[in-house]
């Protein structure tokens, strides 16, 4: 099987879908000649032409709103937001409008569109090239929110997102783009939105995570294994809708939960996961539900020392797991 990194998998997914379906168009900043700042659309302009690969003016609200309108009128747009830190101007369209259209028109109109946005830190991005935004969108009924961690998942989920008849937010962790490599089958496949995956089986502790933190969590699980504690690592993959069944099945088995994410702790995805468990698997719990998350500061500082202070690491995760195991 071919081995590739996450950004290559993302590119391949879009490429295949654009070839498959002429309704798919892409719009965003620098996606044309430049091929995207991360080269996710390299060569697309030449292959698919200016009509389908649209270098947009620097106006995120418009990128989102135009995608919504095009989706309402029969296209399947992929809107690229250059960095998640610049996604805030789209909130009017992506929280206020798109997710309410199917419901608010009683099904007369649908909004089959995808918003791709590179997010996350550990890349010396400072306060404004490191932010996470998935929790904001995950609070919004009518939206689907995907945060893949591996090339395989990125490709299969992005294809599902493009084929979905609802708006899908697709957050790609920038640090996984080139760092994380993996096998991606040549044969066509699609991964359903809304399914978590147990990335490592275990008995003693359930670790729920997604995105870059999956990789750090797997490392930490290895550390724990050396100490005789087996950690089950659940990769949410989709953070809305959450796959309650998979989460609860694991917790029911282990009775202990650590939730790990890079996004700020308060009101993050971990809060909802914890609340679901505390509501629906209470009787199986042997220990408090723990969260290890990005601290509550406004994204991570630029200086390497301060950035490291922000980022959850395999070491910090392993320490939290040990604490939980010892409870």
């Amino acid at each position: 099987m071919p081995v590739m990194n996450v950004v290559q998998a993302v590119r391949q997914a879009m490429h295949e879908e654009m070839k498959r379906d002429p309704r798919v168009i892409i719009l965003g900043e620098d996606i044309g000649k430049r091929g995207g700042v991360f080269l996710a659309t390299e060569g697309f302009l030449e292959e698919f032409g200016e009509g389908r690969v649209i270098d947009a003016p620097l106006a995120e609200a418009a990128i989102a709103g135009i995608a919504v309108g095009a989706a309402m009128n029969g296209l399947r747009p992929i809107a690229e937001i250059e960095f998640t830190d610049f996604i805030w101007p789209t909130v009017n369209q992506l929280v206020g409008e798109a997710p309410r259209i199917r419901y608010g028109t009683n099904g007369a109109l649908t909004v089959p569109m995808v918003v791709r946005a590179p997010y996350g830190g550990g890349v010396r991005g400072g306060l404004y090239h490191s932010q996470s935004a998935e929790a904001f969108f995950a609070h919004t009924p009518g939206l689907k929110v995907v945060c893949p961690a591996t090339p395989y998942d990125a490709k299969g989920l992005l294809k599902a997102a493009i084929r979905d008849d609802d708006p899908v937010m697709f957050f790609e962790h920038k640090r996984t783009y080139r760092l994380v490599r993996g096998e991606v089958p040549e044969d066509e496949y699609v991964i359903p939105i809304g399914q978590a995956e147990v990335k490592r089986k275990g008995e003693h502790i359930t670790l729920v995570t997604y995105g870059l933190m999956l990789h750090y969590s797997l490392e930490a699980a290895n550390t724990l294994a050396q100490e005789g504690k087996s950690v089950e690592v659940v990769d949410l993959r989709t953070v809305r809708p959450l796959d309650k069944e998979t989460i609860l099945a694991s917790v029911t088995k282990t009775g202990r939960v650590l939730i790990v994410h890079e996004d700020n702790k308060t009101g993050g995805i971990g809060a909802e996961v914890a609340a679901i468990i505390a509501e629906e698997a209470f009787q199986y719990l042997d220990a408090p539900i723990m969260r290890l998350c990005g601290p509550d500061v406004p994204a991570m500082p630029f200086a390497p020392t301060l950035e490291a202070e922000f980022m959850p690491s395999p070491q910090k995760i392993a320490a939290a797991l040990k604490k939980l195991a010892a409870y």
């Binding site: 919504v68 009683n106 959450l242």
Partner: protein
């Protein structure tokens, strides 16, 4: 073609496109536009119907039967004229909350209109989930998905882009107020439309107020239309109480759009006869004198009526009959709508997601 029409203020002289605002009443005006007397009478009746219906929803509101009304009274010529200058079978109409006359012009029935105001079963826009006339009525190609001012303008771009991508010759018209022109998304939408020469008409109904905020607190210019220059397409000012002027301006813009020449910004100067909505009290911010003068001066119905009478197309008797007919229709619709039930709570979770979505 020059890109700068009807620029007023800014130290430059007022200019009107020949044939639009500059045309004075003459027996040829509607013929010049290719409109027959019959067609004109039909249009007039739609305006009468819209006005009658509009007055009725205010009554219903005061009786506690309609939760809220935003009125098209004073805007009828702008709305009906622009809508009927387009192709109802292939164009798309992005309306806003004040667009009742657009809806009536396009064929939404009085019963349907009143069902939306009363939030009853059979309401064709949103299943009674939204404010009156909000949602989408695709049979009439009307889209009005939210109350958020100006949030439809980029969507209208997107819809126009889809027409262009598929090489269909549909035109999108997006209706909005003077207030909406201050929103950032209005700028972004016009700029993108200019760059991509989208088949779109930005139709601004400038009634000089955003709720209570008067024009001089909204912008340091007289005419919204001047902004079109900053986007590389024509901006046109038109007397929005003059049906024929509006039809001509809109027809020109549609032809331009269909020919691939890109967008037009039409600014229709209108007056808002009623308070902003039934929740508003305009006496707080408009003087009695202003209100009276405005109602007298710029009544689009009165103006068209005079024209039709002058032209001998309409007689006072016909006019009375039209009004009676409209009233009868509206009465019947009222009875029907009053008796209709509210939606059943079993519909509450319908159309939340595409079928097959796992979870919420």
């Amino acid at each position: 073609m020059t890109n700068c029409n009807s620029v007023r203020g800014m130290g430059l002289a007022t200019k009107s496109k020949p044939g639009i605002a500059a045309v004075t009443a003459s027996e040829n005006r509607h013929n010049l536009l290719g409109l027959t007397a019959e067609r004109l009478l039909d249009i007039y009746q739609r305006m009468v119907l819209s006005r009658t219906l509009d007055q009725r929803v205010w009554q219903l509101n005061r009786q506690g039967k309609a939760a809220i009304v935003a009125s098209a009274q004073g805007h009828e010529a702008a709305q009906v004229g622009s809508a009927l200058a387009l192709d109802k079978d292939r164009d798309l109409f992005f309306t806003y909350y004040r667009s009742m006359a657009v809806c009536v012009a396009l064929g939404v029935t009085p019963t349907e209109v009143l069902l939306t105001f009363m939030a009853k079963v059979g309401e064709p826009f949103s299943g009674a989930r939204q404010f009156p006339l909000h949602g989408a009525y695709m049979q009439h190609r009307i889209i009005n998905v939210s109350n958020v001012v100006a949030a439809h303008l980029t969507k209208a771009d997107g819809a126009a882009l889809a027409f262009k991508t598929r090489q269909e010759f549909g035109v999108v018209i997006a209706y909005f107020g003077d207030g909406a022109s201050s929103e950032g998304e209005c700028h972004e939408a016009m700029n993108f439309a200019g760059v991509h020469r989208l088949p779109i008409i930005f139709f601004c109904e400038n009634n000089r107020y955003a709720i209570s905020v008067p024009l001089d607190k909204q912008m340091a210019i007289q005419d919204v239309a001047i902004r079109a220059q900053g986007y590389g397409f024509p901006g046109v000012v038109v007397d929005g109480s003059d049906l024929l002027a509006v039809m001509e301006a809109t027809g020109n813009a549609a032809a331009r759009a269909r020919a691939g020449e890109g967008p037009t910004l039409i600014e229709a100067k209108v007056e808002r006869f009623m308070p902003h909505t039934s929740d508003d009290d305009d006496r707080r911010y408009r003087s009695k004198a202003e209100l009276e003068e405005m109602r007298g001066k710029a009544d689009p119905l009165g103006k068209l009526r005079s024209y039709l009478l002058e032209q001998g197309i309409l007689t006072p008797e016909m006019d009375k009959a039209y009004l009676a007919k409209a009233l009868a229709e509206v009465n019947e619709a009222t009875d029907f709508a009053e008796k209709a039930p509210y939606p059943d709570t079993s519909t509450f979770y319908d159309h939340l997601h595409s079928p097959g979505t796992r979870g919420v």
